[in-house]
């Protein structure tokens, strides 16, 4: 286990840890809608035909009504005694290795580990619709991705507010598989959060999360305000294949 030793669990936990948190999915879905059509490859809303527009709205409603979203997070104080021990980056000695997709957490006071899932009902729906109607399945898949991101954003917003009250500032969230944070970091992350028991989230042997519409992430907590980071695509290992890459990136 490569990053647990320097962590000391704090008592700060989320209220209703692991309970259903459907509220954000019941609110107007414009932001989710924009994300969903972006995942579908549309550059702007005007490119949508009325039929696809209907399909996306129907898909969002269906996902949001059957999802059983649950989140969990834990705050860990970073033990200053052994600052070198804790790193989630391959380049563990650099202050902030090669770029923004990785974070070396020595500069932070602590970290929040978080997990979120839409639950197994969404996977079942996706499997069923893939057999019946592949175009709607694709739309639903994008809607589900938008929904889990909305759940994570909501959690992060809440955390930001909670920590701001204590003059603490949060970084963006970083997930295994992005930048140079390896997928294998899922193992300790899930163990530290006890996700299997708390929110029903587990791993396959090749580090895929099940249920599939789930996210785990690490958020740094600092005593100084964090710049809104511009995450460059240049440092990302997915830059050659990513469909959402910013155009200016040199390959």
């Amino acid at each position: 286990m490569f990053f647990t030793e320097a962590l000391v669990e704090s008592v700060k936990k989320t209220p209703g840890e692991g309970r259903l948190c459907r509220n954000i999915l019941l609110e107007p879905k414009e932001q989710m809608y924009r994300e969903a059509i972006r995942y579908l490859g549309y550059k702007s809303e005007t490119d949508l035909t009325p039929e696809i527009d209907d399909l996306v709205r129907k898909g969002l409603d269906e996902i949001c009504s059957i999802a059983e979203p649950r989140t969990i997070y834990r705050y860990f104080f970073l033990d200053g005694q052994k600052p070198g021990d804790f790193s989630i980056s391959k380049n563990s000695n650099s202050a902030c290795s090669s770029g923004a997709c990785s974070i070396s957490l020595q500069q932070y006071e602590g970290v929040i580990l978080m997990g979120a899932t839409l639950g197994g009902s969404v996977d079942r729906l996706l499997s069923r619709i893939q057999i019946r109607n592949i175009s709607y399945a694709l739309v639903l898949d994008s809607c589900a991705t938008a929904a889990i991101e909305a759940i994570c954003d909501d959690l992060q917003n809440n955390l930001t507010a909670i920590y701001a009250a204590q003059n603490r500032y949060l970084t963006n969230r970083y997930s295994p598989g992005y930048g140079d944070l390896p997928l294998s970091a899922q193992i300790p992350l899930l163990q530290m959060l006890d996700t299997e028991r708390k929110i029903g989230l587990s791993l396959t042997p090749s580090f895929l999360l099940t249920p599939s519409k789930s996210v785990t992430a690490i958020i740094g907590v600092s005593t100084v305000p964090q710049k809104k980071e511009h995450v460059s695509c240049d440092i990302c290992e997915m830059r050659h294949v990513c469909h959402f890459r910013r155009r200016e990136v040199s390959l």
Partner: protein, 786 residues
């Protein structure tokens, strides 16, 4: 032994083990089972504290002692379990307490949600129960599981390998279901059938919050009930649970009133809680429970209690269906699943599953279809075969309580089939025939039913789990006997009080306007007491007859379902936008599926099937493909067009199949999502598009091992193989697959795709082509296969 009188006296279990360990400073992320080896006296002390507080059964510290969870440690499950059970035995000896071998979830999801096969799960559990028995455990407790199929693997592993009582408790969330969607009703029905010793709930919530789930469970089993709740919810201020020991005990009182007799505590509970419960139980007596009797089958999340006409969908059956037979030969499981989903959408409550066809491994096919089907539909299944091996293959892997189709009055049949029903806790359908065939007279059929019932009861199958099919003879052949069937149904209901099943549509065989006769006969049979018609629910008049019957017999209260179904005047008269030119190209361009199918039917009256594909379907798809490449349309529209073309293509293929000709094909292609990868929407998109172009696709599914790709390539003699991988961690499997197949089949040609692939990387791992999207897959297929 206390385990003998679980209903007549209270039994007190222990409280939380993890809670005690954490209180003593066990850090997060550390395997608590290691402490059995490193600090045995510490664990023994915890057991002692519980026993001194009143626990009569303590759980060994083996919750995660399986090969998977212990893989990062230096110990095997057998070593840990041996040590842990012996520690518990030492603690228990003095007071005569019992030791339960504790088994928690494996930590990996079973197929098809995850990658672990049922048999792999079985082997992991088998290792644990064998070690537990050797070490001297008195019983087995399977706890905190959320997947009913995983529970079943554990229960079978215990029943088939050791001779110990089995307790099962599952964990429910506040929405009344487990994380994977199992509800307490299905749990009760299924585990009661499998014959565990006691069952109940543990973990996740406090007693009060678990009460609704417990009530449901209580209404669906007669077995002793267990309650081992958390000490409320975690209190965020002090990192402790919010329910005190006295409050916890107070919240158990309604459960005692419900008839629960086995109590303990889970997370957050300590010896203090056990003492409080012990004090409470001293002041109370077990409350006798009313004995329940009802007929039901279920999936993991959906129970069907047979108390009104209930449709069994008959369409998953290859007999007499050429397209279905071809699908089985091609291993086209999606076709089969589609039959299942569409029947459920049309109103089937139970699905019959029959995959018997010469030339295929029927048992393996049954296993695959049941496993895949239960991932996409909630309906309980009826496992249908004449081959006991096939039946067992399905019964083993089915999640929930199935119905077996069928046993009959012959001794051989009774001897082989009834024990399967008993062992797997299934309901069983008995046919009123024996070695002399179907008796003409009702009373002779009922005598066979009586014999089947008696033999079933003799081996311990419950009365309510025997259903009878009085059998239909074609009116065109044995017109006089039609009334005998109706009479037999009435007699079975009145004399034997059993549920009745009937395959209705045989009645009209050989006569014109079959639907009319089928509907009329169905109505008569329902009137005679038919509970479970086996029909094709996609044929509206059959479902209509049932809907009407349910209104007239007052099953459909306030006619609510009937009105919802038929009062369509208010809902939009959806225009099916028929365009005047009846142009298949237009229909495909605009994603009009029904329209495209109608156009194809129209075209078949004037054109050869192959010409329709080559001159109409493919040019239309090419046009759409070009628009997609140019960025004029996007993927969802491309797929809508593909879906409508699929409908048209199916019409053409059906016409070809019915004419007895060879299926149209432009060539054969294998598609698979590689080993370790479970995300397969990309592969499914490619499949739909390629099928549209007339290629025969052998879809091996997801998480496919290299050897399986090779054997499919050999078996079906396929040269072109498409592989998909979504994650960097599974690219290795892709490379391995390509190398293995190419080593054994020099002419194999691979195209690969997926989010993490690049053209360079594709080349590096030995692929012949890189496909950026579904459209490029078609270009590659055209190049290779023409």
């Amino acid at each position: 032994m206390i385990i003998d009188n679980l209903l007549e006296q209270f039994t007190l279990l222990d409280g939380g083990m993890g809670t005690m360990l954490q209180a003593a400073g066990l850090p997060l992320g550390i395997c608590p089972e290691i402490l059995n080896m490193e600090k045995p006296e510490f664990i023994e002390n915890i057991h002692r504290q519980y026993i001194e507080a009143g626990s009569q059964i303590v759980y060994s510290n083996t919750f995660g002692a399986n090969s998977y969870k212990l893989s990062g440690t230096e110990f095997s499950p057998a070593e840990i379990i041996d040590a842990a059970v012996k520690i518990a035995r030492r603690a228990a000896e003095k007071d005569g307490a019992k030791v339960a071998l504790d088994i928690g979830p494996l930590g990996k999801l079973l197929e098809p949600n995850g990658c672990l096969s049922f048999e792999e799960a079985y082997v992991l559990f088998q290792e644990q129960v064998l070690a537990g028995e050797r070490a001297g455990a008195d019983l087995i407790i399977i706890e905190t599981l959320s997947d009913l199929l995983e529970v079943k693997a554990a229960v079978l592993a215990a029943q088939e390998n050791v001779d110990l009582p089995i307790f099962v408790t599952m964990s429910y969330e506040e929405n009344g279901r487990t994380f994977v969607g199992c509800d307490p009703v299905s749990m009760g029905i299924t585990l009661d059938g499998l014959g565990v010793t006691a069952l109940g709930l543990n973990c996740s919530l406090g007693p009060r919050d678990l009460l609704p789930m417990l009530e449901k469970l209580r209404r669906h089993t007669n077995l002793p009930l267990i309650m081992k709740a958390n000490a409320g919810l975690p209190n965020l201020e002090n990192n402790r649970y919010d329910l005190s020991a006295p409050d916890y005990a107070q919240q158990l009182i309604p459960m005692i009133d419900l008839g629960v007799t086995i109590f303990g505590g889970c997370c957050g509970t300590t010896p203090e809680y056990i003492r409080e419960i012990a004090a409470l139980l001293k002041t109370r007596k077990p409350v006798p429970r009313e004995k329940l009797s009802f007929s039901a089958v279920c999936s993991a999340g959906n129970a069907v209690v047979i108390n009104r006409p209930t449709i069994i969908g008959e369409r998953i059956n290859p007999s007499g269906k050429k397209v279905f037979q071809q699908a089985l030969l091609d291993h086209n499981i999606d076709y089969v699943l589609n039959q299942g989903i569409s029947q459920v959408e049309a109103g089937a409550k139970i699905l019959d599953v029959n995959v018997g066809l010469p030339g295929i491994d029927e048992a393996a096919m049954m296993r695959t279809v049941v496993s895949r089907l239960q991932a996409v539909v909630d309906a309980p299944l009826q496992i249908d075969s004449t081959n006991p091996k096939t039946l067992e293959a399905g019964l083993r892997i089915v999640n929930g309580k199935p119905l077996i189709n069928s046993v009959n009055g012959e001794d051989e049949s009774l001897r082989t089939i009834l024990p399967l029903a008993k062992k797997y806790g299934a309901a069983v359908l008995g046919l009123c025939l024996d070695k002399n065939g179907i008796p003409d007279k009702a009373k002779d059929r009922v005598n066979i039913a009586r014999k089947i019932l008696r033999r079933a009861l003799d081996i311990g199958i419950k009365h309510e789990d025997v259903y009878i099919d009085c059998l239909v003879l074609a009116a065109s052949v044995q017109q006089a006997e039609v009334v005998e069937t109706l009479k037999a149904i009435r007699m079975v209901k009145e004399e034997l009080n059993l549920k009745t099943v009937l395959g209705v549509s045989n009645i009209s065989f050989g006569l014109p306007n079959r639907e009319l006769l089928n509907q009329a006969f169905l109505t008569l049979a329902l009137g005679a007491g038919l509970d479970l018609p086996i029909i094709n629910p996609n044929i509206a008049p059959m479902c209509d007859a049932i809907a009407a019957f349910n209104v007239l017999l007052n099953h459909d209260r306030n006619s609510a379902s009937y009105i919802a179904k038929y009062n369509t005047a208010a809902s939009s008269t959806k225009s099916t936008a028929t365009n005047s030119s009846n142009d298949i190209s237009y229909a495909i361009h605009h994603g009009l599926a029904e329209e495209a199918a109608l156009c194809a039917e129209e075209l078949l009256t004037k054109h050869e099937p192959l010409d329709i594909v080559n001159e109409k379907l493919i040019p239309a798809l090419d046009d759409v493909g070009k628009s997609f490449e140019k960025g004029v349309i996007y993927l969802p529209q491309l797929l809508q067009a593909a879906t409508s073309a699929q409908g048209a293509f199916a019409v053409v293929q059906k016409a070809v199949a019915n004419s007895g000709k060879q299926q149209l094909t432009k060539g054969k292609i294998i598609l698979a999502t590689v080993k370790g990868d479970v995300h397969d929407i990309g592969k499914n998109i490619v499949k739909v598009i390629l099928e549209n172009y007339g290629y025969t696709i052998y879809d091996l599914g997801r998480d496919v091992a290299p050897e399986k790709v090779l054997s499919a390539a050999v078996e079906h003699d396929v040269q072109l193989i498409g592989l998909s991988a979504l994650m960097t961690t599974t690219l290795g499997s892709m490379e391995e697959t390509i190398h293995l197949v190419k080593k054994n089949r020099k002419d194999a040609i691979f195209f690969v795709g997926g989010a993490v692939l690049t053209p360079d990387y594709a080349k590096k791992i030995g692929a012949d082509y890189y496909a950026h999207d579904a459209k490029q897959s078609v270009d590659i297929a055209k190049k290779v296969l023409g």
